[in-house]
């Protein structure tokens, strides 16, 4: 009971601080005409931590942390790519160009940026609709992570935790989603950072130090091989057997799906357009790199090490996957609950709430503007009396869709699936296949054409959907459409574990390139408008 009281008090204090910071930022925005000049004095650490906290969510900590408990420390390849692609290349290379082009074209959303870059209202409309329909998959995964943790912590049903969690997030998002969320994001990011440092240090200390912990995990390999050996598992401190089921799942979905997909995330690309100057991006790179290392690096390392804890703990005596009754997304919550003191469990719950809220607010905001502004207003030319209200309504629908998915996804996937990791990887892979070739081409070449951008977008979308529905067993088998039409669970048993991004992205790149070479380049006037005098 004391534990519950502690959690309620800590949660309320956190929410009050968050609400106050949000209000401060809102008031600051409305009363200052030189908001941006005042904003220039905001410390760049705050800027970068705000970006990082948007990027990292419960998906990373609970979902992929759980995946690391299953697949091992090989998931750290995703940390490497998250830092290299998601911070360094995103900030230094993509970010600066996105900022400049966004300003020149007066674009305020990602669909608007690519729509104006390619002079294609169709591209803006289609991408807006795609984001609105597909992003609930990612948002739903983030919600699952938070709800799963709360259910474990408070010993309540998942459904009850889901309702409680979504209610808090919805209030925050609908009240927030304004400029000035910067301060709350930075506050949340700071909590996340402190929480993860404590988690890492405690875990290593509990298990005997860095090298001894790793050694214990290495020695435990035979226990894992008993359970997963047939799928190519070789231990948590080794990569799986090349070409095996685990190898494909780890490398193609978890590592590549997110590691590459991060570059084409609409809600992150927009952040670059709101950054005040290139200097901020440079400074943000330093903070972002450290932040992502401490978030994902810690989550994945601790995730894998939970196996040592659970196996050696007499209350469990099993590896993590079995200790959590094969619910991968419950491994991290169970570990926090069992291994860490009650006060840390409360702090960690706030850490997860913070991670989820900062990510979900930007996702819902992106969904809202994708539907309200890009699809309805600019695309279908449906003019509403109050566009801001329309966006907020669309946000509300997005919240409902995401919650429904958070409810149904655990029932949809087979037991033992890393649901959060799958949902996140699928969305990111879809974004990569549809947006990355045209986004990269649009920023870095003057030759790419409107026809090529459209062809690449629709080909990537079609290829990804086809692969998900008829080849990728994680989706195709429970969905059953392939079985209905072709009488087989998936089209090919040999490639059923290969993630959609592996097929759809190369196809999209090739089509974009071929159509570019066979269609007329854009006018010089338009190119000058997009690139300036560069």
């Amino acid at each position: 009971m004391n534990n519950l009281l502690l959690i309620i008090i800590v949660t309320l204090v956190y929410l009050m601080i968050t609400a106050y910071l949000g209000y401060l930022g809102y008031r600051h925005t409305k009363s200052e005409t030189d908001f941006l000049l005042a904003g220039r004095s905001v410390h760049p650490v705050i800027m970068a931590v705000s970006y990082g906290s948007t990027f990292i969510s419960t998906s990373a900590i609970v979902g992929f942390g759980g995946a690391a408990a299953l697949y091992g420390m090989g998931v750290l390849w995703l940390t490497f790519l998250n830092i290299l692609m998601g911070i360094f290349i995103a900030f230094v290379i993509f970010g600066k160009r996105t900022r400049r082009m966004g300003h020149r074209l007066d674009a305020h959303t990602f669909p608007e940026l690519i729509g104006k870059r390619f002079e294609s209202p169709l591209l803006q409309t289609a991408s807006g609709l795609m984001i609105f329909v597909a992003m609930p998959l990612y948002a739903g995964s983030v919600i699952i992570g938070g709800a799963q943790f709360i259910a474990q912590k408070l010993s309540i049903s998942y459904e009850t935790a889901l309702f409680f969690f979504v209610a808090i997030v919805a209030i925050y998002v609908i009240m927030g989603g304004l400029k000035g969320v910067l301060y709350t994001d930075a506050f949340q990011g700071s909590i996340m950072f402190v929480g993860m440092i404590i988690l890492l240090v405690s875990t290593y200390w509990m298990l005997g130090g860095v090298i001894d912990s790793h050694q214990s995990l290495t020695s435990l390999a035979p226990e894992g091989v008993k359970v997963f050996g047939a799928k190519g598992f070789r231990g948590w401190t080794a990569m799986p057997e090349p070409g095996s089921v685990f190898s494909w799942q780890l490398i193609s979905s978890i590592v590549l799906g997110v590691g590459i997909g991060v570059l084409a995330q609409p809600q992150l690309a927009v952040r670059f357009m709101t950054v005040k100057s290139d200097r901020e991006l440079n400074r943000g790179t330093l903070v972002g790199g450290v932040f992502i290392l401490m978030m994902t690096g810690v989550a994945f390392t601790v995730g894998a090490l939970t196996n040592v804890y659970f196996f050696n703990n007499p209350s469990f005596g099993k590896i993590s996957f079995l200790a959590a009754n094969k619910v991968v997304d419950n491994i991290i919550p169970l570990y926090i609950h069992s291994a860490m003191p009650g006060w840390f469990g409360a702090l960690f719950m706030i850490t997860l709430l913070a991670a989820a809220m900062s990510t979900l607010s930007s996702q819902f905001h992106t969904m809202g503007s994708a539907f309200g502004r890009d699809f309805l207003d600019h695309g279908m030319k449906v003019k509403t009396k109050n566009p801001v209200f329309t966006i907020k309504m669309a946000m509300g629908v997005g919240i409902i869709l995401s919650t429904l998915l958070a409810y149904f996804l655990p029932r949809f996937f087979e037991q033992g699936s890393a649901i959060i990791a799958i949902g996140t990887s699928l969305f990111m892979g879809l974004c990569a296949a549809t947006f990355l070739p045209l986004y990269f081409g649009g920023l870095f070449t003057k030759r790419i054409t409107r026809a090529a951008a459209l062809a690449g977008f629709f080909t990537g979308l079609g290829a990804a959907l086809f692969w998900m529905l008829f080849v990728y067993s994680k989706i195709a088998v429970p969905l059953g459409l392939c079985n209905i039409i072709f009488g087989v669970p998936t089209i090919s048993a040999k490639i059923q574990f290969v993630d959609p991004i592996v097929a759809a992205l190369p196809v999209s790149i090739i089509v974009t390139f071929i159509v570019t070479m066979t269609t007329r380049p854009p006018s010089e006037d338009h190119i000058r408008k997009c690139f300036g005098d560069n």
Binding site: G74, F80, H108, I211, S213, M239, K276, G289
Partner: protein, 61 residues
């Protein structure tokens, strides 16, 4: 090495730390790049752009 059994995982562990260090070095080196005059110009551009933000379309900030 480091108690890890596979070279793949060892590489992932060390490269992750290496990538973060790359970000730190880059950030330190470019902490004051570009200079103030360029930043002022960029902020002025941003102010114009901000006026067309969906949340406050046309409102003077």
């Amino acid at each position: 090495m480091l108690g890890l059994s596979g070279i793949g995982v060892l590489l992932a562990y060390t490269l992750s730390i290496g990538a973060a260090l790359l970000c730190v070095v880059y950030g330190v080196k470019n902490w004051n790049v570009p200079a103030d005059d360029v930043v002022s110009r960029e902020v002025a551009e941003e102010k114009t752009w901000e006026q067309h933000e969906p949340d406050n379309d046309g409102e003077e900030l």
